[in-house]
């Protein structure tokens, strides 16, 4: 189990033990009338600790919510926020839906492509940045928007994006990841 985890979660993230994670998940599940209803919250928590959802993490969640690994995998494959591989340190989630496109999301994508040499789905060689094009982030009044890990960066233009990427590049690595 532990070797599987290392393979799936190269960043290591919080380093929580399986036992401690299980206790956290059991606490989450206790709030719901049925254990399985805690599934999404458990997956979010496991991903926050581990950076992604390895098979071992999925099995652990399944044990806590009383579901088979197959059921947990059904969830992980359905919901886009659940990741089976850890994203780059800074996961640039660029909204590609209409309101953001009308306000220049394409220019932001071009700028990222030129500056970081990555397109949608790509990760920089140093693992610092990953670009994903995502559907509407529900922040249309402040378009264009990029979600980076947990935070929305709104009303961006090219220069603001450059400055943001400068700051992130200069920042020392810290545990992060979404979820």
């Amino acid at each position: 189990m532990s070797s599987d985890r290392r393979k799936g979660d190269p960043h290591g993230k919080s380093g929580i033990s399986d036992e401690a994670l299980r206790r956290e998940l059991e606490e989450i599940v206790a709030e719901y009338p049925e254990k399985r209803a805690g599934a999404l919250m458990c997956l979010h928590r496991a991903q926050r600790h581990r950076g992604s959802l390895s098979l071992a993490s999925q099995v652990l969640v399944g044990e806590v919510i009383g579901s088979s690994p197959a059921h947990v995998r059904e969830l992980v494959s359905f919901y886009t926020l659940f990741l089976e591989e850890s994203p780059g340190r800074y996961h640039l989630q660029l909204c590609r839906t209409l309101s953001c496109q009308l306000r220049g999301a394409r220019d932001l994508k071009d700028r990222i492509r030129r500056r970081l040499s990555i397109g949608p789905g790509g990760v920089t060689e140093d693992g610092l940045f990953q670009l994903t094009e995502v559907e509407c982030l529900g922040s249309c009044d402040s378009a264009p928007v990029i979600q980076i890990n947990d935070d929305y960066f709104e009303g961006l233009d090219g220069d603001m994006l450059d400055k943001l990427l400068d700051e992130l590049s200069a920042r020392p690595p810290a545990a992060g990841g979404q979820g």
């Binding site: 209409l98 009308l102 529900g138 979404q178």
Partner: protein, 428 residues
Amino acid sequence: MAFEKVLTRNVGNPAVLSLAGYEAAGGYVALRKALKEMTPIEVTEEVQKSGLRGRGGAGFPTGVKWGFVPRGGERPVYLINNADESEPGTSKDRLLMTHDPHLVLEGTMISAYALECHHAFIYIRGEYVREYEILMAALTELREKGYLGRGMLGSDYDLQVTMVRGAGAYICGEETALMNSLEGRRGEPRLKPPFPAQRGIFGSPTNVNNTETLANVPFIIERGADWFTGIGKERNTGPKLYCVSGHVKNPGIFELPMTITCNELIQEHAGGMLRPDHAIKAFIPGGSSVPVLRADELDVIMSYDDLAEAGTMLGSAGGIVMDDTTCMVDALRNLEAFYAHESCGQCTPCRQGCGWLHGLLTRLENGGGVDADIPLITELADNIEGHTICPLGDAAAMPARAMVAKFKDEFRAHVARKGCPLRDKVTA
């Protein structure tokens, strides 16, 4: 009578993030009134009298929906606050959650009391991490100070509120998909019947309401249904949050009565067009799923009924403004890419149809289209709409049919010129 903003009255006042600050601004007066002076039936009746209609998209009368929930049965009743805001063009519930989390909670709590529900859920979209944290902080303070739980606020009523985070699926805004998701399943809509009021989550009667809808409830209880019906127009009562995005100077969320027109919203409230030398070409009034309006159709009042009469919908009031640099084929292609991505895949017409629409529009935009493609878009839309379990298929079909009907010349020009005649494309 001047219109008074209530839903957004605390926006820009960070003091209301704390319980003390919210109460200093008049908060939880309505909850106390409901618990001490009114029975659950009386709260329900007041909401029925107010004429409040669902703010999430369908516009169904909230009090009537509450009336479907059986009382006194063996199984517990559940209330879900649907904060899974994800209709393109819509960001109004986020404003409430960010700036006034206690209003969101108070609305949920009073509504739960009305439904005789003892466990309510708030299902928030997974991307709204900070909004979740703000709500959780407010919820934690309520729990600690005896505003929730057994005998809350000295009453004999018990209520527990639990937050659930979605995980990136638009379809979970649909109430039966949301219920499956909340139960720890894939967000696949359910066949109806049974309706949620009969059999929702955990096999129990369940009521799902949009966040903005429930945020109106404290004001209806505190000020009375007559106050609410005095705002707007008949059958379209109360304050409404309008979103404006796209090619305007001041995009934003505006609280207004349902007597304003599209033109007033765009020109007066959203500051007019972004670029003065580019006029408005099209306006999607209610989020990406509703039929588009042309520039010459924008004197219509933005109420549920007026927009329906104009052949479109108020929907989630997610207004998207497009100026004359926007290619309508490309705008539609962008939206169909969204629906193709977000289709849950259960129903063939939606799963296949949305992808076909996207492919067809991509071909047209890139110059490979033929004349027959244009009626084919409409035919595809016809074959999706009404043939699926949930309204996602309709949501993909309606804008397609309207775009082709209203901008047919532009679609034809893409065939004739073998590509897009406009400089500015929406997507890369």
